[in-house]
């Protein structure tokens, strides 16, 4: 049996508004701004819902009804679910309908889409628990059985943690330099673990859809579902093709005019046409496919840019200074037991804030490569640090001496 393991990641951060020194100590509404501002979270959410979530969910639901073999997995961050609940309940309902079919599996992660694993084990555990709770509350699901860390940030320690936490499988990037001659199209076991399995993203195939689909200068353009299905069948011995990508690929990163939604719609038909082809959710893949070997990941691996490490988030000193400063507040801040304060602190942990401070793609003048609501990484850093200073000011107001 050859399986497509389709997994889509759904996430939107709470972007920080233009927040200046004139706000610090006075206004604490870091995440609220005018409707027309580039950082207005509600407006962005509704726009993405319109272009991506609603039309894609409609398509996915139709596919689930039409093909009993079709299934997929979703990871939805807590901060996204919160925003959907508040601003777009109809969109949330459309996700619930997918999950209600019983063939859409939800994946565990940190509620705040944070890099807390690398900064605070206790905070990380809290956010994983919070995420479990919101999934349980909104989707009537008792458990998430597979784990993905934010940005697919993975190493042996993350795997060891996931194993002791009882997960069946964990997801990571199938990065060639690490795999060597081995292919991501099999199931593996993380080094040093007994039971948990490792599913590796086939980034060549995933990126064909996520990045190259609409690129007219790509030699394979236009990509059709039958061509894609043919590529997959060419790998004779493979057991699983892990297609992992941002959900927003459909309709937002790739516009619907590119035909990406039609591609999604025809893929099951083209794939299932051949005997011995099916779809699997991540936990079904872990349950039904044997591990063929062990993968040892000492240095943290992520799914971002050519380095596949954490450098897009903590590669420069602005990023390191700000994330370290934020986690240094943990103990005194939690002791205050002030929910608003804790909540804002956690929203500031979302990895996107640090990504916006990345200067890697900024130099070439290729501003399009810089996905951010801000004009520059420097502006992102200034806004963040002002919000951070306001958090401190609120702590001082509560009697903490810093």
């Amino acid at each position: 049996m050859k399986s497509i393991v389709l997994y889509l990641h759904v996430h939107q951060p709470y972007r920080i508004r233009h927040y200046s020194i004139f706000d610090v100590g006075i206004n604490h509404d870091y995440f609220d701004c005018n409707w027309d501002s580039k950082e207005n979270n509600k407006r962005i959410l509704l726009k993405v819902a319109d272009k991506s979530y609603l039309p894609t969910n409609e398509k996915l639901l139709r596919l689930l009804h039409k093909y009993p073999e079709f299934c997929l997995s979703l990871s939805m961050s807590g901060v996204l679910l919160e925003q959907l609940e508040a601003w777009a309940p109809d969109v949330l309902d459309s996700f619930k309908k997918l999950v209600d079919t019983g063939r859409v599996e939800l994946i565990g992660e940190t509620y705040h889409h944070s890099l807390s694993f690398f900064y605070s084990p206790t905070e990380f555990q809290t956010q994983v628990n919070m995420h479990k709770e919101i999934i349980e509350r909104l989707f009537n699901k008792s458990e998430t059985r597979v784990f993905r860390n934010t940005e697919l940030a993975y190493n042996n320690d993350v795997a060891a943690w996931a194993e002791q936490a009882g997960y069946k499988a964990i997801l990571a990037e199938g990065w060639d330099p690490l795999l060597g001659w081995r292919s991501p199209n099999y199931v593996y076991r993380p080094a040093g673990t007994e039971n948990i399995k490792l599913l590796l993203k086939n980034y060549h195939l995933s990126d064909d859809i996520a990045f190259r689909f609409g690129d007219h200068s790509w030699s394979e353009w236009p990509l059709t579902a039958d061509k894609f299905a043919h590529w997959l069948s060419e790998d004779g011995n493979a057991t699983n093709f892990d297609l992992f990508m941002d959900y927003e690929t459909f309709g937002e990163h790739q516009w619907s005019e590119s035909g990406v939604l039609d591609f999604l719609e025809t893929l099951p038909k083209e794939w299932l046409k051949t005997e011995g082809h099916d779809f699997k959710t991540v936990s079904a893949a872990a349950d039904q496919i044997e591990a063929v070997g062990e993968v040892d990941v000492v240095n943290t691996l992520t799914w971002a840019d050519t380095e596949r490490d954490l450098s897009a988030w903590v590669g420069n000193s602005m990023q390191r200074e700000s994330i370290e400063a934020l986690y240094r507040l943990e103990q005194p801040l939690l002791e205050l037991n002030d929910w608003d304060l804790i909540n804002d602190w956690r929203k500031l942990q979302t990895s996107d804030h640090f990504y916006y401070m990345c200067v890697k793609w900024f130099n070439d003048g290729d501003i399009h490569a810089y996905f951010s609501p801000y004009e520059s990484p420097y502006d992102a850093y200034i806004n963040f640090m002002n919000a951070y200073h306001d958090l401190r000011s609120r702590m001082i107001d509560k009697g903490i001496s810093l």
């Binding site: 200067v359 130099n363 003048g365 520059s376 420097y378 200034i382």
Partner: protein, 402 residues
């Protein structure tokens, strides 16, 4: 290809950036082996130039031309009181036109390239005589020089007529291109943007002996220096800078502002800084050249160019070469090529203060910006601009003679 350049000044007899830009552009162009340059100035002087032939339109000295008005004085109006200075600059322009036309009769060239309105009539005259293509290079338009107001109608008439007649127009920035379209309704496809650049070899290298001894003393006491170099005129936006400086000094008393340059706002700005209560934090250094000019950059932690309107604005690039990051107004042409800096709208006093305070507080911001600046500046060169102009010449010459 033989190019006849028409310009009003060249270093060392330049009154400002126009002469420097012409010099460095021609030097870079001359590195193309198939390009021969003849440059006609309105005055006779000693030049140490071996990359092109420099001619004098007539045997007068620099002083006589400069007394008639510099390239920057065109906005001066003619008043009823019989003030006669206006006559001189126009008569100089007319004399230049006549003498250049006489010289052109016996010279051979394929194309004429003229810099700013002072030489445009001469270029038109040659076109009339020889019907060769003329390229008009706009370093600034009249409304820019007039600080956003209408400016001198006589100059506008020359600009408008010549720009309409030109075979092609080169603008030093998108900002200037837009101004040309806005002021004179020239079709956009006739205007090519070729950004100015900088030649680091022409910059005086740093030494360990900064001429601002007092500033060095203050720095050793923990002060930080913010400097600005430019004429003290409305166009440069220094009034807003002083209002923002007050906000900065209130929060960070150990900040000193160094304003280098002279101009009609001198007394006004001194009075304003006193009225704002920051008299002791603002130092007016007057007009500087050479080592003092260099040290105005080198002494700074942050360089500021808050211009209301700036066709290009080289100083942030110069500051960058001395290792000093900048805050610039978005209304400056240089912001189209320089990305690793802070950008503000010239009217947004609070945002200026926000960014200055953040910069002075956050070590990581200047650290990352300096690293990135080095990489970015190595990519900005006259060679690129000259190459673009070389291609534009080719297009004109081929089209006309084809």
């Amino acid at each position: 290809m033989k190019v006849l350049m028409l310009g009003w000044e060249l270093p060392p007899h330049n009154s400002g950036g126009l002469g420097v830009a012409c010099y460095q552009l021609c030097e870079s162009l001359s590195k193309n082996s198939d390009i021969d340059l003849d440059f006609i100035l309105p005055y006779q002087a000693e030049h140490n130039i071996n990359f092109m032939k420099v001619h004098a339109a007539r045997p007068v000295g620099v002083v006589e031309i400069q007394q008639a008005g510099t390239a920057y004085d065109s906005y001066k109006f003619i008043f009823h009181d019989g003030h006669e200075e206006w006559k001189d600059i126009y008569s100089q322009v007319r004399i230049y036109e006549k003498t250049v036309a006489d010289m052109a009769k016996t010279m051979s060239f394929d194309i004429v390239h003229a810099h700013d309105w002072l030489t445009f009539r001469a270029a038109l005259k040659i076109k009339e005589m020889k019907n060769c293509p003329i390229v008009l290079h706009v370093h600034s338009v009249e409304s820019d020089r007039a600080g956003g107001r209408y400016g001198n109608p006589l100059v506008r008439e020359i600009e408008e007529t010549s720009l309409w007649m030109a075979d092609m127009i080169i603008a030093v920035s998108e900002h200037t291109k837009k101004a040309i379209i806005r002021d004179y309704s020239i079709p956009a496809d006739k205007i090519e943007v070729v950004h100015n650049s900088i030649d680091p070899n022409q910059l005086l290298p740093l030494d360990n002996n900064n001429s601002y001894r007092y500033l060095m003393q203050l720095k050793s006491q923990g002060y930080q220096v913010v400097s600005s170099v430019g004429r003290l005129t409305i166009q440069k936006g220094l009034t807003n800078l002083l209002y923002a400086a007050r906000e900065v000094v209130q929060r960070m008393p150990k900040t000193v502002f160094l304003l280098v340059g002279s101009g009609e706002q001198y007394h006004e700005l001194i009075a304003l800084s006193a009225d704002l209560g920051i008299g002791s934090n603002v130092i007016f250094a007057g007009f500087q050249r050479g080592k003092q000019w260099r040290d105005s950059f080198a002494a700074a932690d942050l360089f500021i160019m808050p211009s209301v309107s700036e066709p290009f604005g080289l100083t942030p690039l110069e500051a960058g070469y001395y290792g000093v990051p900048s805050m610039i107004s978005k209304q400056a042409g240089v912001s189209e090529v320089l990305h690793n800096c802070l950008k503000v709208d010239f009217w947004d006093i609070n945002e200026m203060a926000n960014k200055m305070v953040s910069f002075l507080r956050l070590q990581a911001l200047s650290e990352v910006m300096k690293e990135q600046l080095t990489a970015e500046l190595s990519d900005i060169s006259w060679e690129k601009s000259a190459g673009k102009i070389r291609n534009l010449y080719g297009r004109q010459v081929n089209e006309v003679y084809a």
